[in-house]
Symmetry: C2
Subunit: 168 residues, 2 copies
DNA sequence: TCCAAACCCTTGGATGTCCTAGTATATTGC
DNA sequence: GCAATATACTAGGACATCCAAGGGTTTGGA
């Protein structure tokens, strides 16, 4: 999308913050901005790997979640909670996955309000293949050192917990 | 959007990865997934603070960038490069900011291809107020410890550099 | 000098996310 | 048992991001 900049724009922003007398929060601002940008880079990599499978990250996450469920099926609301996205986002993802025949919707046996999302055989195959690709092309070459990975898991885990993501 | 889960879904995913024989990349997978989720949480906080100003994060970033430019103006392509987003995203943001009278488009004095984005007086005021709000309500209460902030800046900075964001 | 290649911005389309209803089904409480 | 409340999913709308294409402007090499 663009060639490398001569200078780190986030470091520049941090300096600007300090210069304007906001030194107190300049570092957290830089850290948060860096998280936003890193997510953008990672998402682009992931989507690039998933594209050949006709998947996006949102759809992959749902597929992967289903593949780990014992029965290969989950209620929409459960998927929404576990993926931590809005219910309408799940509806959207399921619509597209269903068109691609990777999942099917089926009524819940006892609760008429609930819809189950079920992995098809092809869905399971694609999920497996996509995971293999992501493992080798993204997670296996993250560029983060082992210590940094551990640190990120701990720091961001604490953050997510404090934000109310989970109790544990 | 949902009440806290009883267990950390990312830690669960990491265990699933290990259980399926992908232990080698389970930790980086967890770290990357945590970054994605953290970004989502932070973005929601930021947008919540900006909403009263009629701004989104994308528009705020552009406004802030302009406010740090000496002349209060920048070519669209420069803004695109510095914000590291696609040119069409800048077009979109400028369209909306211009409707809100926070910026104006003006022709480049010497290059007929280029359009300058210029901050209006009101744009500068809103930028300042929004920044104050973000500083006190988000950056000042990030929840990250000082050491963790420094670590994040370093680790993510190295990552962004390796990804080709900047040379420095 | 002049035309092809490079560059800049915009339009149109595909996706994803969230929010705000609206419909249907369950549960609760009186 | 029935009305009121709570849940589950979906439709429609607002935004953001990217990609592919198209039209206008500059630049540079023949």
């Amino acid at each position: 999308m663009g060639s490398p900049l001569p200078r780190d724009p986030i470091a520049d922003a941090q300096r600007n913050w300090e210069r304007h007398g906001w030194g107190e929060v300049a570092a957290p601002m830089a850290a948060i901005t860096a998280i936003m940008r890193t997510q953008q880079i990672l998402l682009a990599r992931i989507e690039g790997v998933l594209k050949p499978f006709g998947l996006t990250f949102a759809r992959y996450e749902l597929l992967a979640l289903l593949s780990f469920a014992r029965s290969g099926a989950l209620p929409m609301n459960k998927a929404s909670a576990l993926l931590q996205v809005h219910p309408t986002s799940v509806t959207n993802a399921v619509d597209r996955l269903e068109k691609a025949a990777l999942v099917v919707r089926s009524p819940h046996p006892t609760d008429g309000r609930t819809t189950l999302i079920e992995l098809t055989a092809e869905g399971r195959t694609i999920a497996k293949r996509a995971t293999t690709a992501l493992n080798s092309e993204v997670f296996g070459q993250s560029g983060f050192g082992d210590d940094d990975v551990e640190h990120l898991i701990r720091v961001l885990g604490d953050f997510r917990k404090a934000a109310g993501d989970f109790t544990d």
